[in-house]
């Protein structure tokens, strides 16, 4: 008389509970709603619902001249808005076939790499919060504040800059900018070791993130996941190296790839450590740029009226969250007929339902945090 048939299971029908991790939740990184079917703690199905922050960016850009779209692109991924306007400018310049002065290219790379450091620093702070450690958040934000001050002297704004324009940049570097950035880089590197000690090697942190949400190589490519999330699964795919745009071919830096030190390749810990190492790479890039930045007039190639030639182009850019593409169709007027932004976080989020089946709720939070999504660019 085995134990099972003692309890007559037919009368007990437990169905799983639909938990609504609603648009307003402390750790959904913005207004994302997750419809989670759970039985007990274990998650059986997740359905992300997006669109709460949809601001019709693509419809607006069909009625605005090219130079007036730049502030709108900044507002898509508000955590790395330099990348957004840089990618947009590259796309428009591809269509305008104008020659960008060397100095502008160097300033743009410096500014994008600084923005990448700020965005990854933000990620480290918030990922710590998702896992429960509150102190790294404030340390990292204190250092990120320095970068924001640098951007403030350069563009006047702290978060949404409207600095990189199609054809050039709005202002040249203020005279003390280079010395001050180098001063910041020398100050920032030892700070990284501190965060590394507190978070990366912490036993509970490793317990909470290693082997969680393993994403293997070709599933990631199939879902269109790009950027640090893809590199953590072992794919060495970085647009700055594979398809070098602007002056990345002149700079030497290596691309950190997940090796699965603390668990299997492609788990949440790898996604964390890849971003952590990328900060070090970006610091290396900025130092090289400062060594060889040429003189020149920044407004040389800035057109009075941006009017690209007829036709369409798809330009790709490596933003902090992945491959950021702009598909622009123009028919000779100063207003684009169609502008589509391929947002990296959009595809990265689409892998969440696949990744978090079978894990517990606190793991869903960790996996969502490790994908580092921003709802501004998902909903556009």
């Amino acid at each position: 008389m085995s134990k099972e048939n003692l309890i007559d299971k037919s009368s007990i029908n437990t169905d799983d509970m639909i938990l609504n991790m609603g648009p307003q939740h402390p750790s959904t990184h913005g207004v994302l709603r997750l419809k989670i079917h759970t039985d007990g703690e274990v998650v059986s199905k997740i359905e992300p619902i997006i669109g709460y922050l949809h601001r019709c960016f693509e419809k607006h850009s069909e009625n605005l001249p090219y130079e007036q779209i730049v502030p709108f692109t900044d507002r898509c991924d508000y955590l790395s808005s330099m990348h957004m306007s840089h990618a947009y400018s590259i796309a428009v310049e591809k269509m305008m076939d104008i020659e960008i002065p060397e100095r502008v290219e160097y300033i743009r790379v410096i500014v994008s790499e600084l923005q990448r450091i700020a965005s990854h620093a933000f990620f480290i702070g918030v990922f710590g919060l998702d896992v429960g450690a509150i102190t790294p958040f404030t340390w990292v934000f204190r250092d990120r504040e320095r970068i924001i001050d640098l951007f403030e002297t350069l563009t006047g704004a702290r978060l949404l800059y409207n600095y990189v324009w199609p054809g050039g940049v709005s202002h040249d570097l203020p005279e003390k900018f280079i010395t001050r950035t180098i001063e910041f880089l020398d100050y920032f590197e030892p700070q990284l070791i501190e965060v590394d000690e507190l978070l990366t090697t912490n036993k509970i942190f490793i317990e909470r993130t290693a082997d969680i949400g393993v994403l293997d190589k070709d599933i990631a490519i199939n879902y269109g996941v790009t950027g640090p999330a893809l590199r953590a699964s072992g794919v060495d795919f970085d647009l700055r190296k594979n398809e070098p745009y602007s002056i990345y071919d002149k700079l030497d830096f290596d691309v950190p790839v997940g090796r699965g030190e603390m668990g299997t390749v492609g788990d949440s810990w790898d996604r964390y450590i890849v971003r952590f190492l990328e900060i070090k790479e970006s610091i290396k890039i900025i130092r090289q740029c400062f060594k060889s930045i040429p003189e020149g007039d920044v407004h040389a190639a800035l057109p009075k009226k941006v009017r690209p030639r007829k036709g369409s182009t798809y330009s790709r850019f490596e933003s902090s969250r992945g491959e950021l593409g702009y598909y622009i169709i123009s028919d000779g007027k100063n207003v684009p007929t169609r502008l589509k932004m391929r947002s990296p976080a959009f595809s990265n989020l689409s892998v969440l339902p696949y990744l978090s089946e079978g894990w517990m709720i606190s793991d869903v939070i960790t996996i969502l945090g490790s994908l580092d999504i921003v709802l501004g660019e998902i909903d556009r």
Partner: protein, 365 residues
């Protein structure tokens, strides 16, 4: 001489009728405990905010002062902050969700508050500053501290919100499973000093040496007790029931105003109880640490009289509370099953092994 006995004896000379006497003998210690709890809560909250601020390179509350005196200029401002918070909480609107179980929801905070309130009765504050002198001291404290769980489950269930239900279920499993290592480790002093009563344990420690230094096994037992104590009071790294980033605020989500402050009050009281119990069981109660290192010549033994004893005990308790806060601002949060793994696979085996080893140690030495 416990507090209640002293009141009874002093008032018995007035020959009032017996029930009135009993009433007074109960209400006065009750008021003292309540006063102690509120003062402890206010000071502990201020300390926690200041310590967490300095650990995170920020300043913490700096603006609010009492009667114009803001506290230190550079770092230690904002003394009145917690008093202002307390008043705000009392004055705040007390929202009860429409389809929540109204009566249960009102009842739950009081159960939790009473649980920590009555455990205080058995906890000594110094040699004779003891509310009532039980001869089953430790057992009473252990029993009363597990009443709180009922309140938490009731709060989570009755606020009719999926998140607080999760918080309540997690709290239930966590607190019940951490009762076991605490119970086992509390048995060690009983074995060694031979009595359940608080006085026998502390007197034994004063005669020979602090229990923590007595044998390596009791040293490990202290750490197991202390860490499970943190788990008892739901503090990081075990604050899963009210994990901010997952369950918004766990079983406390639907509460606001006065009821929420009751939860807060009892959380800080539990913290105080755990550190008081740990200090008088393992760290030699009201004995002054100077006797161990006998720095001073013998005749200064009177440093641990009834008044100074109170000071030493509180000093140890505050040190332990600081360590609890220190843990909170350093460690990330454990997942529920890792928490269970730690309790059942690490603490309980070690605790049982310790008990065995202490028995053997007692026999040999």
């Amino acid at each position: 001489m416990s507090f209640v006995d002293s009141i009874l004896s002093s008032l018995s000379s007035l020959e009032m009728n017996y029930t009135l006497l009993l009433l007074i003998a109960v209400t006065i210690p009750g008021l003292i405990i309540f006063l102690l709890m509120t003062v402890n809560a206010i000071v502990a909250v201020y300390m926690e905010r200041k310590i967490s601020a300095f650990m995170q390179d920020r300043l913490g509350p700096m603006e609010v002062g009492i009667f114009g005196f803001k506290g230190g200029k550079r770092f230690w401002g904002g003394i009145g902050q917690t008093i202002a918070d307390a008043i705000k909480l009392l004055a705040k609107e007390d929202i009860i969700p429409k389809d929540a179980d109204k009566f249960m929801m009102i009842l739950a905070p009081f159960i939790i508050f009473i649980a920590s309130f009555i455990t205080f009765v058995g906890v000594p504050l110094s040699q004779d500053f003891l509310i009532s002198n039980f001869n089953i001291g430790i057992l009473y404290i252990l029993a009363m501290s597990s009443v709180g769980v009922i309140g938490i489950i009731l709060a989570g269930w009755s606020s009719n919100n999926k998140w607080s239900l999760y918080g309540a279920m997690r709290a239930a499993s966590q607190i019940i499973s951490y009762e076991i290592p605490i119970a086992i480790t509390l048995l060690l002093p009983v074995i060694i000093s031979g009595g359940l009563d608080v006085h026998t344990i502390v007197d034994w420690q004063l005669q020979n040496r602090w229990l923590i230094l007595h044998s390596p096994f009791t040293f490990i037992a202290f750490f197991i007790f202390f860490v499970s104590g943190i788990a008892e009071t739901n503090r990081t790294p075990f604050d899963i029931p009210e994990a901010e980033s997952e369950l918004v605020a766990g079983w406390m989500t639907e509460y606001s105003g006065f009821r929420w402050s009751l939860f807060f009050l009892s959380e800080y009281t539990n913290m105080l109880i755990i550190s008081l119990v740990a200090s008088f069981v393992f760290l030699g109660g009201w004995g002054s640490p100077l006797t161990i290192i006998n720095l001073l010549p013998g005749d200064y033994m009177y440093l641990d009289g009834p008044i100074l004893g109170f000071f030493w005990l509180l000093l140890k308790a505050i040190a332990l509370i600081f360590i609890m806060m220190w843990f909170r601002w350093t460690f990330p949060r454990l997942r529920v099953d890792q928490l269970m793994y730690l309790c059942w696979k690490v603490f309980i085996p070690f605790a049982i092994f310790n008990m065995l080893a202490v028995g053997v140690w007692e026999v040999l030495f």
